[in-house]
């Protein structure tokens, strides 16, 4: 078998989970419908058959219970990997995540670790009903004690899930559900980047486009279109939302002087706000224009028929490119 395999994102995740479970028999999966059904997105397909009911747990239907018992499982030496069924259903677990999971390492003053991974399929583009298309990353990125990452390619999915599981810290693992079916090459032999590194995915000289998750594809589309109009865009996938690896971003902005952050989440008090504020702080003199944000609007995710209007698309990015170039 070649080291390079072409896999859809969901299957790459599945392979990453399988590798982590094979390597450490205290890695276990917990969630709703992740067992015989393989999860509503089939990310855990086959793992229940392979590893059994004590490694792949179809839990009772209670998210606080899932996260809270996962914490207890770490105390028995396990590394639980939780699947939250959809982004909008993580909130019943919010107390266990913020007041317990995020703080327990600190509360234990270094005498214990709490390696829980919480996988959350997130974001829009699938035309689903309420609570099924949201982007809750800001809540977690604001919370000290959590790490927050989001792969945007099958190769990253494969490696980042393993790195997240290996981390001694709780990791919120955001899976852009729009990408589950996207195929890409996975190098199963060699990890390209560490978990928290951001990555330049396209080189350019006029404007720096930065984003995460499914938005990276949109940024690349916008960059391709902009090229036709004579504008050269650099595109950066931050991959990790907490902490953020600013070096590649700052290096780029120092060259381009112009930057846009794109995200599906509502823009107010968001990851995009933080990146904009930080880039201003660290590259003030380099900026020819304000860092602009292209975000979901500050309204609840609308009925699916309006998601095309709610979610930033390449045109919305280009509109911001025009604005940022007008300075």
């Amino acid at each position: 078998m070649s080291d390079i395999q072409t896999l859809p994102f969901a299957k790459a995740l599945n392979a990453g989970l399988r590798a982590a479970m094979a390597a450490d028999d205290h890695v276990l999966l917990m969630g709703e419908d992740i067992g015989p059904l393989g999860g509503v997105f089939r990310v855990t397909e086959g793992l229940h058959a392979e590893f059994g009911s004590q490694r792949v747990l179809d839990t009772p239907l209670a998210e606080s219970g899932i996260v809270g018992t996962a914490i207890g499982l770490t105390m028995a030496g396990f590394r639980p990997v939780i699947e939250i069924q959809f982004d909008g259903f993580v909130f019943p677990a919010f107390d266990q995540i913020t007041t317990q999971l995020a703080k327990l390492t600190n509360r234990h003053e270094g005498t214990a670790n709490f390696p829980v991974v919480i996988r959350i399929p997130y974001g829009g583009h699938i035309g689903a009903v309420e609570h099924h298309q949201e982007s809750p990353e800001a809540y977690f990125a604001h919370t000290p004690g959590l790490r927050v990452v989001s792969p945007s390619t099958p190769n990253d999915a494969y490696w980042m899930i393993q790195d997240a599981i290996a981390s001694p810290d709780p990791v919120i693992f955001l899976e852009p559900k729009a990408k589950y079916w996207m195929k890409g090459e996975v190098d199963v032999a060699e990890r390209a980047l560490p978990l928290h590194a951001s990555r330049v995915v396209r080189r350019g000289t006029d404007v720096t486009l930065v984003g995460h998750g499914a938005m990276v594809t949109t940024l690349l589309q916008a960059a391709a279109l902009a090229e036709g109009e004579g504008t050269s865009c650099e595109v950066i996938d931050v991959r990790s939302l907490a902490p953020i690896d600013y070096e590649p971003i700052l290096e780029s902005v120092r060259r381009t002087g112009r930057m846009i952050y794109a995200q599906e989440a509502p823009g107010n008090v968001s990851v995009g706000s933080e990146v904009a504020a930080t880039v201003m702080e660290r590259a003030f003199y380099a900026l020819e224009a304000p860092v602009l944000r292209v975000s979901g609007f500050d309204v609840p995710f609308p009925p699916a028929k309006l998601e095309g209007q709610f979610l930033p698309d390449a045109d919305r990015i280009l509109e911001a490119v025009d604005r940022v170039l007008a300075y």
Binding site: G35, P36, V40, D58, P60, G127, V129, F297, P300, P303
Partner: protein, 379 residues
């Protein structure tokens, strides 16, 4: 987890009036409910049957519409008609009803236009109707269990305002809240029972145990009957055969009337079965056997009631008429679904707040101008 299938609907504590073959065969626990059933008129009995048949036709139609790409999703109510019709027909028009998201029978019986459920599942709305215009039938709630607390809070309000417990059932208001076996594990359902007991709300907790939470059997949620939970809060609880519309009606009626009288909350576990898929995205063959499905098909709630009515002498023309009405109802839904138009972009901003909000207004303005700029470009 052990499989959940062990015919618990036949357990001795379960209230049942009609046997699976439609014969009138009350269980010993049904004794106290029989006067309520005896009091039902022929017209009422026929209404129960008609409700179930009509909504099943609608549900089938909706499933087809989803397959044709008209809906994002459809969660079928197939198989749960008796539990839903029986309980909702036991409520008075001034009562308050909180569905979860599979209560198509419940809400349409309260006057909600089925096209409004269709609009929800098509991605045209997150709500669909105004509860105040439909016998206080509240909106679907997709976050499992959350509505249980809303129901309890409303019940508290009824107590505080003296809108219940006066002794006049024509006026005393009660609340019924629906949720599933899976949802019963959520902390919110527990807290709803804690508050309900504490404030003595005029409320019925109606749990439809359809034996599955998507692919997870009820045995994962509980190793003992879910009805026992209520007892832990001092809430009198009963198990009923949820595929028996008469039993479902009677236990709900008594519970609602006790609740409205000031006796406090009541809980009902209706044993029923989700005969279809969880939703149109689901594939039940991955997690349950056809044996199990078949055994429940034998307890079909509609067939049971049809046999009962036939035994009582209902005419063939009655059944034909109901079938025709159901077909017409479903056809009408199809026609109207196909005619559904778009929704205006603005509505995404319109009702986020009740009062003006500068950030939202500004974004609404921006988007309107942005969209207009394309139209100019195209013009």
């Amino acid at each position: 987890m052990t499989p959940s299938f062990e015919a618990p609907a036949e357990a001795s504590d379960v209230v049942r009036v009609l046997a699976a073959d439609g014969s009138y065969a009350p269980s010993p626990t049904a004794e106290r409910y029989l006067p309520l059933i005896d009091a039902l008129t022929d017209a009422e009995l026929e209404t129960f049957y008609r409700d179930m048949v009509v909504v099943r036709a609608f549900d089938r139609q909706a499933t087809n519409l989803q397959r044709q790409g008209q809906l994002a999703l459809w969660p079928p109510s197939l198989g749960q008609e008796a539990a839903q019709v029986g309980s909702v027909r036991a409520a008075r028009t001034h009562d308050h009803v909180f569905p979860s998201y599979r209560e198509h029978v419940v809400v349409t019986t309260r006057g909600v236009d089925p096209i409004d459920i269709i609009r929800l599942m098509r991605g045209l709305t997150h709500g669909g109707w105004n509860p105040a215009d439909h016998q206080n039938t509240h909106l679907y709630t997709l976050v499992l269990g959350a509505q249980a607390l809303h129901a309890t809070g409303l019940g508290m309000g009824l107590v505080f305002d003296g809108r219940t417990g006066t002794g006049d059932p024509e006026k005393d208001e009660a609340v019924i809240v629906y949720y599933g076996d899976g949802a019963s594990s959520q902390g919110d359902v527990h807290e709803a029972m804690v508050f309900a007991a504490s404030y003595n709300t005029p409320q019925v907790f109606f749990l439809q145990n359809n034996h599955w939470a998507i692919s997870v059997p009820v045995s994962t949620q509980s190793r003992v009957p879910l009805a026992r939970r209520g007892e832990g809060y001092g809430i009198p609880s009963v198990r009923v055969d949820g595929n028996d519309v008469l039993a479902s009606y009677a236990v709900s009626k008594l519970a609602l009337d006790e609740a409205r009288s000031g006796a406090g909350p009541r809980a009902i576990e209706a044993l029923t079965y989700r005969m279809g898929a969880h939703t149109t995205s689901d594939d039940p063959t991955k997690y349950r056997t056809s044996d199990e499905e078949e055994s429940w098909a034998e307890r079909d709630p509609i067939a049971r009631m049809r046999a009962f009515l036939q035994n009582r002498g209902a005419s063939a023309s009655f059944f034909d008429e109901v079938d025709a009405a159901a077909a017409a109802y479903a056809d009408d839904v199809r026609v109207r679904t196909n005619a559904l138009g778009d929704i205006p972009t603005e509505i995404m901003f319109d009702h986020v707040y009740g009062d003006a909000h500068p950030l939202v207004q500004e974004q609404q303005r921006w988007l309107a101008e942005y969209e207009a700029s394309f139209e100019e470009g195209n013009a």
